[in-house]
Symmetry: C2
Subunit: 342 residues, 2 copies
């Protein structure tokens, strides 16, 4: 009898232990994967998409190898105002480029950039910017470029928050990236920005390896150094303009599968979302709307605010989103927190 009682006690304790374990792991399993999101249709759409595509019993189940999700970067994963980060990098590089080629000092647009006159710089045309990009992003070896970009991204500070640009990533979107990956999705950046530039920090900042960064890409040229060692030089030859129609074209070139989910924030992402939505089965298309002037910036169609040339979100895009069942994420209403350090 004594043994029986002990045994019963052990069993009870064991079961209690199990229950305690369940209680401990229960909340962990049920933990909110998107804690920086307010409850609402956007958050609900993401959670429901993940459930439907990963549940084998679901009609919308997607086999793991087909789970591709693409993310625009500027304005979707991190701040892009008042100017794209990569353009800031290029402008900062102008003095070094002029030092190497002094004849540029008297030539526009380099003269204006060197003057430091912000007003004049704001008036630079698209063609001027292209000249600056070509001069600062090409003509060096891939390794030299990586070293320069790495140094800059680690030291440069954003003018508003005085923080490294890599701290201006949106926490709710980082949560989406992690949540999708935890559910077998391969996450890609598909950016109008330079592919080589983004690759420098994408693994550290987003957990996205270089081979999953699709971006505007120039050609390289294979050659040999004085030591006989081969190296690649970045050429001023555009291979892929990864904007607008270039996004689905780039996705086909570099991934070769149609995404099941795509996230953007501007007209440059329209075709990527259209292309994603044109596939059969479960598809999730989302646009980040910048409508929070206090915590970040506000522009675009939502509040009748004037639009911007940096991350344009037109009324027409908003209407297409509504018509095609894309979700518009309101930074103001949907995001509890915008930055991790808030």
């Amino acid at each position: 009898m004594k043994w029986r009682r002990v045994l019963r006690k052990v069993v009870v304790l064991y079961l209690m232990g199990t229950c305690a374990t369940l209680t401990l792991t229960g909340p962990a399993l049920a933990q909110d994967p998107l804690p920086s999101w307010n409850e609402g249709p956007a958050k609900q759409a993401i959670v429901e998409f993940v459930r439907a595509t990963t549940d084998k019993a679901s009609q919308k189940y997607v086999p793991p190898e087909e789970r591709i999700a693409t993310f625009d970067q500027d304005g979707t994963l991190w701040v892009s105002h008042p100017m794209y980060t990569q353009v800031m990098f290029c402008l900062d590089r102008v003095p070094a480029v002029v030092k190497a080629k002094p004849e540029l000092a008297k030539v526009e647009p380099f003269k204006t950039v060197l003057s430091g006159n912000q007003e004049a710089m704001a008036k630079l045309s698209m063609k001027d910017l292209e000249k600056i990009l070509a001069a600062t992003l090409t003509g060096m070896s891939v390794e030299e470029f990586y070293a320069e970009a790495k140094k800059w991204i680690e030291t440069a500070r954003d003018p508003r928050w005085k923080r490294p640009y890599t701290e201006l990533t949106y926490l709710p979107m980082l949560e989406v990236l992690k949540y999708l990956r935890a559910n077998g999705f391969k996450t890609y950046i598909v950016t109008g920005g330079g592919q080589d530039f983004v690759r420098v920090y994408s693994e550290r900042v987003y957990g996205i390896p270089p081979e999953q960064v699709v971006g505007t890409a120039g050609g390289t040229k294979y050659g040999y150094g004085k030591d006989g060692k081969p190296f690649l030089t970045k050429e001023p030859k555009l291979l892929l303009n990864d904007n607008n129609a270039g996004k689905p074209e780039g996705i086909h070139l570099m991934i070769g599968r149609r995404p099941h989910a795509a996230f953007g924030n501007s007209t440059g992402d329209r075709q990527m979302l259209e292309y994603t939505g044109a596939g059969p089965g479960a598809r999730l298309m989302m646009l980040v709307l910048h409508d929070d002037a206090k915590r970040e910036y506000a522009y675009g169609p939502a509040e009748g605010l004037p639009d911007t040339k940096v991350g344009t979100f037109t009324r027409a895009l908003y209407d297409e989103a509504k018509k095609d069942g894309w979700f518009v994420i309101s930074m103001k209403k949907d995001w509890k927190k915008i930055f991790a350090w808030e």
Copy 2:
């Protein structure tokens, strides 16, 4: 005492069970990962490379995210003689193309291909072949192309063995692919062949997903069908000629990391192997030498045989391999078995 004896028995049984488990898993762990390879320097080099790059205590340890291995396809992973498989596909497609555009029937090189005159076809110039490739690989939607290529690859037969081309893959190389992947390597195809063509069967045949196929690539054009649905059309515009210097350039464009291992079989792979070897740490460069006329084909420098235009392996390449510490794999001596069905 009785209880003690029982307890002792349980412990002994438990330990025996553990030992039995060890004995059972022991041979599985020690199983030869390359059973189709004869013992020799090539096999040894592969095994030693995997050991050194995956052993954390090794000076040559490579973190998993950096484990990239690239493989040429034609002549490295499958048979490329007497003619590249993709060229056979293009020639087979000529009647369908001419049916859609009857005016081509009287124009060279289509006239010659339609004649079926093998002798005349063998004399077609590189320029002629390019015309055939452009006509048969472009001008349709990506989906139409995939459907055509899939149908062909499933039904076409090689002239010598009368088997599907996808059965003419080299078993020893399939073992290397699996072995590397089992050790955390990401395996890529880097082929002079068409990227879209290879992507049709790469996952099924090699276990390599489409996003890990780098190949000669043309541009696509985004547009809308009559139903308003967007689609991509294959354009006759060359974006990447993934041969020779184009291989490291393509690797940089599509992967953005330098491989730690690279496998090829011809002068078209030279720069890929040089580029791989130029990186620090553990690097493995290997060339497949076709020296087995009986079981497959023999050409190239090894036995003083005449070289070929299909998979050229010059004396100069052989000398570079020896000088730079690349391994030359002799199909005759190193491979126990060439095809799985042998």
